[in-house]
């Protein structure tokens, strides 16, 4: 394990980023290698984190992300540059993850398999006051409970609450009607709450 870089959560894209993404996509389509590099640098971490949160394993997440980035660049020509890059890349990541599951004969209804898989990947913060300790414990409990959820429930929660995607972006990534996002998300959150209460009683 030689990961030391700490990545902050919720790499929410602001308007300026979307604008410069569009320019980069145009340049990358024209075959500008530095634009490809810049796009990859900008988006691969979020893609990796989504893969990690779905798979729970660093090596698999890395493989899936590299494959997803490859697909991203090989399909760039057909990408409509007025759309945003991140939901599109997330769609690719999700498809790659599903392919991997299919090969391993796992189902989207399965949990991660190892309850500490995600907690173990959380960055270790500098020692701080007690309030921080409590918040850290809550985070650990949340990610442990998320790991125990069926992947399709974890997925929608992570897209909304970690990656901060809007309901319409979530609908796009999951390929579902936007009108169903809220009820699905709430169903997943209810399940997560039940898990947390269960975990709290055992802890």
């Amino acid at each position: 394990m030689n990961t030391v870089m700490v990545e902050s959560a919720a790499p929410a894209m602001v308007a300026g980023d979307a604008e410069s993404d569009r320019q980069l996509v145009d340049q990358a389509k024209a075959g500008e290698p530095t634009a490809c590099d810049a796009l990859a640098r900008r988006h691969r971490r979020a893609a990796y984190l989504l893969a990690l949160q779905l798979l729970g394993n660093r090596d698999d997440a890395m493989d899936v992300t590299q494959d997803a980035m490859l697909r991203f660049f090989t399909t760039l020509k057909s990408f409509d540059a007025t759309r945003r890059v991140q939901p599109w890349l997330f769609t690719i990541v999700r498809n790659q993850v599903r392919d991997l599951w299919r090969r391993r004969q796992r189902r989207p209804g399965d949990d991660i398999g190892e309850s500490d898989a995600l907690v173990g990947q959380l960055a270790t913060p500098q020692p701080g006051p007690e309030a921080d300790l409590q918040r850290r414990e809550l985070k650990a409990r949340v990610w442990r409970a998320l790991a125990a959820l069926p992947a399709e429930k974890r997925e929608i929660i992570v897209l909304r609450d970690f990656h901060d995607l809007s309901y319409s972006d979530i609908a796009q990534v999951l390929g579902i009607p936007i009108g169903t996002v809220m009820s699905r998300l709430h169903g997943a959150r209810r399940q997560l709450r039940a898990r947390l209460e269960e975990g709290g009683r055992h802890a």
Binding site: C36, R41, M69, V158, L185
Partner: protein, 147 residues
């Protein structure tokens, strides 16, 4: 016991409320309901706490040098993928042939030892490089320039 809220009110609206994703009319409805329903207020507080914990979590991610700049093309991966098994087969046959041929050639113990040592050295070298490549292949896929 307060009556279950689900009868008057779709509970999923609470998620929409937390996410600020409701149209004004629904948001108003939720706000009015929350004023008189402690149970739903607790749900909203919980949803917010979990969302905040999730959102402020940080994960370790690969260092910049663990990524390479642009992905390899499918075809170069295919060629490299085919190349290594062929080269491995070639190395096995070559070493076997050299050993077998050389052994027949001479009765001299020193010459036979030299032959054995050389073949073993070459074999170790080749398979050592092969093992490294196999390991590197996992993390190294972006080395070549995408075109």
């Amino acid at each position: 016991m307060p009556e279950p809220c689900g009868r008057t009110f779709d509970e999923a609206l609470l998620s929409g409320y937390v996410d600020r994703a409701l149209v004004q009319r629904d948001e108003q409805r939720v706000r009015v309901h929350l004023e008189r329903c402690a149970r739903c207020r607790a749900v909203v507080d919980d949803l917010r706490a979990v969302r905040e914990a999730t959102m402020t979590s940080t994960f370790e991610t690969p260092r910049d040098d663990e990524w390479s700049e642009a992905p390899r093309t499918e075809s170069s991966r295919l060629l490299v993928g085919l190349g290594w098994p062929l080269a491995t087969a070639w190395a096995v046959i070559l070493i076997g042939y050299a050993l077998w041929g050389g052994w027949q050639e001479t009765e001299n113990l020193v010459e036979r030892l030299l032959l054995l040592g050389g073949a073993t050295g070459f074999g170790l070298l080749f398979f050592g490089v092969l093992l490294d490549r196999l390991k590197a292949a996992k993390t190294d896929r972006y080395r070549e320039v995408h075109k």
